[in-house]
Symmetry: C2
Subunit: 462 residues, 2 copies
């Protein structure tokens, strides 16, 4: 059960619901089943449509020469133990080892240095959706901790000033909020403490959500890079006065952890519960044949409904399995709406509509079905979003001493002077991480007792 043993529930559901096959013979690498791939496609198509409003999609090479990867010293310090290296081609040792991108700053920014000449070239806002690689030595998990991140959306922008770059980080926060709102995933947005920022960034803003086992899952990060990379990769522009200036940059990313969140946050003991917008099948129509039924009439009605609802992703499941087995199967796949059509429904010119989120049944007249389905799709999203939001809220707990967080589920708020030494102390005593700052309240730092209105968010992250 999800509540008893989340990890087992998650691993079983990935296979049962045909999301991923975990039997690939390399640690940390998994296979997307067709159903899982469709869920991924719909989710990333939505993300893409949000980005396309003011970004352009591109593709940069996977392989990064060692010398480029090593250029930005802080950046490489953050990644050097996690990089996979290609050292051989055929039977030839390569002269320069090539890194599999752990992230693409060092692939993209040498090109920015060529592309950007003048203030008229700015801002640049691009993104790509690519596979990236981390040599994870910790325990790996499908969708969550991977050696091949198959679906990394990374955006990279360049601007004339620090302030413009800051505005871009705010626009990225708004974009990520919209993305997760449309998936019904609640989040805490906070600025990571400086010791936990992205290597090479000025500061990092992160989205975290709550997993059913009480841990936090980082599901998006946004970095203000200031001129750090611009100085390393010599990315300059001529300003209006004819002077050369370094660009200010941002980058921000979302990986397939967004899918992990959708599965984990909304799923239940029957299987997936999918937000309608990304559900591979949005409606399943199931004919109910009884001994007395005119099965031809039932099937005809089902086909008419399918046609009538064709603006949705709709499946008519008319094979000769018994209805119970079909319900079980489609519930597992998270289909938001099930429509049952039996002989009695036909005589009443109605259907039975069953919602996946609540399990509630209602009889709907066929003349009102279109309108009702549209409403239900919205209601399903709202219901699962509110339910998840309520769970998250109930797991945000204010504590007085860091020890109170030990072994507990959820997010904790605790007064903190803001210093790194007290922050690290908080982490050690709570056995949790400082994600960032919570809303301020007057108090005293739980470590050094200095008066402060800052509070830290603590959680045990994946």
């Amino acid at each position: 059960m999800k509540s008893d043993n989340f990890s087992e529930w998650f691993n079983e559901l990935l296979v049962d619901a045909k999301i991923m096959d975990v039997r690939y013979p390399i640690k940390g690498l998994y296979v997307w089943f067709p159903f899982g791939f469709t869920l991924r496609k719909l989710t990333y198509d939505m993300l893409r449509s949000l980005l396309d409003r003011e970004h352009e999609e591109t593709y940069f090479p996977l392989l990064i020469p060692e010398n480029e990867l090593l250029k930005e010293s802080e950046h490489i310090k953050g990644f050097e133990e996690e990089v996979f290296w290609v050292t051989r081609g055929g039977s030839t040792e390569l002269e320069v080892p090539l890194a599999l991108r752990p992230t693409s700053e060092t692939a993209i920014y040498p090109m920015f240095s060529i592309w950007i000449r003048s203030h008229a070239d700015l801002p640049i806002r691009i993104y790509q959706i690519v596979n990236t690689f981390r040599y994870e030595t910790k325990h790996t998990r499908p969708l969550i901790r991977l050696r091949e991140i198959t679906s990394f959306k990374e955006a990279h922008t360049a601007h004339t000033s620090w302030e413009e770059a800051k505005k871009q980080t705010e626009a990225a926060v708004a974009l990520y909020k919209e993305f997760y709102d449309r998936l019904g995933i609640p989040y805490v947005v906070s600025r990571r403490p400086q010791w936990d920022r992205f290597p090479g960034a000025n500061y990092t803003i992160a989205f975290d959500t709550l997993m059913p086992d009480g841990k936090s899952l980082q599901i998006g990060t946004i970095h203000h890079l200031s001129t750090n990379f611009a100085k390393t990769f010599d990315i300059t522009y001529e300003d209006r006065s004819g002077n050369q200036q370094y660009v200010n940059q941002t980058c921000y990313g979302i990986s397939e952890r967004c899918i992990a969140a959708v599965i984990s946050v909304h799923g239940d003991d029957k299987g997936l519960v999918l937000p309608p917008e990304v559900a591979p099948t949005q409606i399943v129509i199931i004919p109910i044949f009884t001994a007395q039924a005119n099965s031809e009439a039932v099937l005809k009605a089902c086909n008419e409904l399918k046609h009538q609802l064709s603006r949705y992703r709709v499946v008519l499941d008319a094979d000769d399995t018994r209805p119970g087995a079909k319900f079980y199967k489609w519930e597992k796949q998270g289909v938001p709406v099930r429509i049952e059509v039996g002989p009695r429904d036909i005589s009443k010119r109605a259907v039975t509509l069953v919602r996946r989120d609540t399990g509630k049944k209602e009889v709907v007249e066929r003349s009102k079905l279109q309108a009702r389905v549209a409403e239900v799709m919205t209601e399903v999203l709202n219901t699962i979003a509110e339910r998840a939001q309520a769970v998250l809220r109930s797991h945000i707990v204010a504590i007085e001493t860091p020890e109170q967080a030990k072994g507990k589920k959820g997010f904790f708020q605790i007064s903190w002077c803001g210093s790194e030494s007290c922050g690290l102390q908080l982490q050690e005593l709570s056995e949790a991480d400082v994600l960032g700052e919570a809303e301020p309240i007057e108090g005293r730092c739980a470590v050094c007792k200095t008066p402060t209105n800052v509070r830290a968010f603590l959680a045990r992250p994946y």
Copy 2:
């Protein structure tokens, strides 16, 4: 110019038309500019829609363990000098080197062995669109000969019998024909000689097109794998009588060479000429302001047209550059239809429509514009397809002796007994490759003089 120096023309156009940046600091790796990426996206979306009729999209890992890659002995012989190897993670030497997939048979088929149990699981038809890698030691070229093939569509199928697999290869040929027909790219389809089949295949069918320099470009291959991989990877199913049988398999692929073909075959000295279905911009509207013009009225008319044509990808280019510079720019980008709107057009409630394929201008009444644009889009495709077809046909030449092909452009047909030794002899004497067989005609093998009705297709391939 394209006709003088195709190679130079191609490389310049890739940069000028913003398809690819060739300045990435590793040999054989290139960057897709946003415009090029959109062309790629539209082309692959079309390919995807064709495949989705009876295939399912999936994703398998990039990395393949050495022992799996080495299992099929013929297969690895074909690839061993071309594989990139990951040997290090962080500072740790990996126990088992990992190959970057050169193609994914050895990643996918171990999973097929798990997935397939019974005849009821067959056929399986899946595909993925992924980056694959070849350690090319020859001269590399963007879109044509790459170390990272960024856009490899590979389909893999499994069937109960050799005959069913053969039918699948025929279905794949039909699918590829539709794909290339919709791009207006002419092709020769032939079965590769056995010495040139895919490593591990029973036989290989290939699509080749003619490049402007007279060489052939292989733009798609289809392989009947028989039970070769099934035996290596132990892929069996229980048949209706309860006996275990090996599956018969096929695989077939298309890479970004399809984009290379579109650019090379249709382009001219002004730039790209794109098939309307995949043109990132299908219509550009250009207001013509003259001294006497009421520029507000012109702009208003342009905006109305843009709205009226919104089912196309349409751009209104209303900035203050002079029209000539705009024409030049959009012609380079291959936009199929240009619409000019000046004061005189407004008074006549008409517009001037200019076709990219022929350069022809026509005046179209605004009330008839929608219908005319729809016609023109079809005509553009037909015109460029027929033009390309005519060029290909005129370059298929029957010859008597292999030496007649030496240093010449195009495809050559020559009588051949069909034996490998005479085939290799033909290749040596013509300095070209045997692509496959041409339509039969009675004759004598140009090498051994045996009577035969077989003719070989000869060409110099990329």
